[in-house]
Structures are given as C-alpha cells and as structure tokens.
C-alpha cells in the first residue's frame, strides 16, 4: 500500500512492523501538565498515543487540545473523535483544525451514551454514526471535498481508524461489522481490550477467512488491570466479553 499521509503508525504498519499505541485520557481541568507528564512517560515507549474524547461521556479537556500539546512535545497523537456530541459541521471543523497541526491520525467512534457521564440530562447529537464519520474523513481526505461537495483547499491528511469489538453481541455480525467499517473507509482498527483470547482467535480466523486482514491493519487492545475495583467494574459491565475471570483480593486471575 502506498502511504497516504505522514502518519507514523501508517508508515510502520505499511512496513509490516508492529505498531504500539497507548492511551492518554485528558484531565478534568485545564492544567496541561497532566498531558505533558503522560506524554513524557509514554514518549520513548510507544509509536503513537490515542487521546480519548470525553471518555464515557464525562466532560474533560478536549481531545483536540490535548493532541496539540502532545504534538508540540514530539509525541505522535491519534485523535479520538466521537459523534455523540457534535454535528457534521463541528466534526468537519475539528478534523480541519486537527489537520492544521499536522496531526495525522484519527479514530472514528460513535461514543458512549450520556447517561453514563456527568451530564445525563444533556441532549445527544448522533448526526452521524462512526461509520458515517469514517466515510466523511475519507471523503475530505481523498476527494478534497466537504460533505456539502464544496472544495477543501488543504485537505486533511489523516490515517483513518475505527474501533472493533470482537466480543460484543450479536456475535454473528462481529466480522460483517468489521467489513462494513472497512467499506466505510477504515484503514486501521483498534480492538476493544481482549480478555477472552479464545473468542479473539475465533474472530481473527473469520477475519482471515474473508481476507479482511489484507485490507486493514488490526491493532489488538490490551488493558492492564490497575486495581481490583477496575476488574470488578469490567466484570460487571462486560461479562460477555470475558472468558473466565476470578477476582482475588489482590489482582485478577485469568485461569
């Protein structure tokens, strides 16, 4: 595949290297030190840093601003962008804003429902969904056009990614859903965290059977447990995604 952007993950993945990304959640305040410290910790260990976008619908410093802080300190950011709270005008505008700092990676997501966040009484937008955001970014980059059809003078040179969940229901559409995202324009995939290796293997087998692994780069997600509380939360919320997890008083055990 010829390179479409100056994205570091794109370059590494095209060269058949592994790429390693990590995540940086922006703070619930305006102190840039939090981001700079995280960037400093991650800088020498990963190829790019995903910056979450008001994760779980909790209001935080914006993903775009945090990406700029990271970019300016020499870290390669991946802008996570959810369609939950912005319409197509704001989304396209933020894509251009991001590209104006030569940030070359975007992960297109729908985003969580606001009932789980700090503004459960708020309106949600969902003018687009994640698939339509993928189409939008690809259209802007490849056709030099806005959704409206108007020309873009300096199109956003972004490597376009999406999430995939090999574990969620209904299971029968897990691989078709990946195919659909590829059809919408996804060039790389970051999976949800994998706590069920057997099901992940099964999913990858079906992905290979359809040749989808030739069409998209797949980065498998790993989330280390930081505490028993976190393990309990994951077990409660996402039981179906987990193989067998026993919670001991210390760390979770995966038999």
């Amino acid at each position: 595949m010829s390179l479409k952007t100056n994205s570091k993950p794109e370059r590494l993945l095209a060269a058949v290297h592994l790429a390693v990304t990590s995540e940086c959640g922006p703070p619930r305040g305006s102190d840039p030190e939090v981001i700079l410290n995280k960037g400093e910790l991650l800088k020498k260990h990963v190829d790019a840093v995903n910056v979450t976008d008001n994760q779980t619908s909790v209001t935080r410093l914006s993903s775009l601003a945090a990406c700029i802080h990271l970019k300016l300190m020499g870290v390669e950011p991946v802008l996570q962008m959810v369609t939950h709270d912005r319409n197509r005008i704001a989304l396209q505008s933020d894509i251009l804003g991001t590209a104006s700092f030569d940030i070359n990676n975007v992960l297109c997501l729908s985003g969580g429902h606001q009932v789980f966040g700090d503004c459960p009484d708020g309106q949600n937008v969902f003018d687009l969904d994640s698939m339509q955001l993928l189409q939008t970014v690809r259209h802007m980059r490849d056709n030099d056009k806005f959704i409206s059809g108007d020309d873009i003078k300096r199109p956003p040179a972004m490597f376009v990614g999406a999430a995939a969940n090999p574990f969620a229901e209904p299971f029968k559409i897990r691989v078709p859903r990946l195919a659909k995202k590829i059809g919408a324009g996804a060039e790389f995939i970051q999976t949800q965290c994998i706590y069920n290796l057997a099901r992940f293997k099964e999913w990858m087998k079906d992905v290979r059977n359809r040749g989808l692994h030739e069409k998209v780069y797949i980065l498998a997600g790993i989330t280390p447990m930081k505490s028993l509380g976190m393990a309990r939360y994951i077990k409660t919320m996402y039981l179906a995604w987990i193989s067998r997890m026993k919670l001991s008083a210390g760390l979770p055990v995966f038999p």
Binding site: H113, L128, E169, P170, I173, P176
Partner: protein
C-alpha cells in the same frame, strides 16, 4: 398514536392555583387510549384538584368537559360555550391539542395537564412503546421494518454499538437492542448480507432540524 402521561398533581396545581375558574378539558382520541387524557381522566383530575383546593383553602371553580379531538376545528363546536365562559382551560390533550387551542382562543390561557411522551404502539393493555420519531424520511425498508432512530438510544443507522448484553440496551436492561432485533429480522428473511450495506449520511432537514414542518394536500386544501 400519540402517547401522553399526566403531569404530577403538584405541578398541575402550581399552574392553575392563581385562577378562579378552570375548564378541565379531555381529549378523547389518542391520549384517552392510554388512559391519561380522556373525559374520564378529566373528571378524576378535577376531583383531585378540588380536594387540593379545599385542603389549602383556595376558591377555584373546576368544570369538566371533553371533545373528540383538540387538534381539529370541527370538534370544538360542542365546547365553544364552555370555553368562552371560562377563565382558563386545563387541557388533557397532547401538546398539539394544547397549542391548537392556544392559537384559536386568544384571550384564554391554556395549561397542559399532560407531558406528551412519544408516538407509539399499544404493546399490550396498559403498556405503550415508542416506535416513531417522525423524522420525515422513513428508513424502515433498510432496517427490517424496525426503526433505529426511534428505538436506538444513539439513533445509530449503522449499529449496533458495543453496549448490547443478552439482547438488551446498556442504558436500560429492560429495553431490547433494536439492532439485535434488526439483525435477527434480516436473518429470518435471508437478508443478513444486507447488514453490510452502508447507510449513508441522513438528510435531517426533513426532521426537527429543518424547522417546523407543514404538509399540504393538493385538492383538499381550503
């Protein structure tokens, strides 16, 4: 049908407590089907308000009436006298009826006794579910006859999201995930492959986003 739900009695009382005379007016179509806004419910509500008035020592005259529909001129004939002789109206119609009255009776305050909740179906007696958001541009042909705009909490046109568990929605475990149902429907008539067809960006200009909507039927227009 339009589904409505009576407001809490305290909220209704606060709206009307300053009035001397109120006509409590039922609407005997949609909101009567859901046992919230018909003449029967207007009678019960007026009784409750009379008790409230006695308890707090307020003088207020509460009359009761009802018409077939508060959203069409022709049904108002039987209530014209009652409306013109009252100081204010507490309407048990949906928001359409309340506004239609407000537009047509310029000097009469009209208060809403109901919260208009949704366009829905009578799933079983006493149980109503939202089915349509009147987006103005029906998508049901592509979604197995089930609407993700009305029935998905994120109105995803290319769903489902990752929040499905045992076929239920993550925001309320009593709600079916409509995308799970859509997938099952498509599979049931051998069209599961259609799931991979991308639903394009929706034209929301036919929806609320395009401003208040009107509809003219040529040949019937007066």
């Amino acid at each position: 049908m339009i589904v409505g739900q009576q407001k809490p009695i305290d909220e209704i009382w606060e709206m009307i407590r300053g009035q001397r005379q109120v006509l409590v007016l039922g609407c005997n179509s949609c909101v009567a089907v859901c046992h919230q806004g018909g003449t029967k419910q207007a009678e019960v509500l007026a009784s409750l308000l009379r008790m409230q008035a006695v308890q707090v020592g307020v003088q207020i005259q509460l009359d009761v009436g009802g018409i077939e529909r508060q959203c069409e001129h022709e049904f108002f004939n039987s209530a014209l006298d009652a409306i013109s002789n009252t100081e204010s109206v507490l309407s048990l119609a949906c928001g359409v009826g309340v506004q239609f009255m407000a537009e047509n009776f310029h000097t009469t305050p009209v208060y809403p006794a109901l919260n208009t909740t949704f366009l829905g179906a009578v799933e079983r007696p006493g149980y109503f579910t939202e089915k349509c958001q009147a987006c103005g541009n029906c998508v049901l042909a592509a979604t197995g006859g089930l609407c993700p705009i009305a029935s998905c909490a994120k109105r995803l046109l290319n769903g489902p999201c990752g929040g499905v568990s045992n076929g239920k929605c993550e925001i309320n475990r009593e709600l079916d995930c409509v995308w799970q149902l859509i997938v099952e429907r498509l599979e049931a008539f051998g069209r599961l492959a259609d799931y991979e067809k991308l639903f394009p960006l929706k034209d929301w200009s036919k929806d609320r986003a395009g401003g208040p909507r009107t509809f003219k039927v040529e040949g019937f227009l007066q």
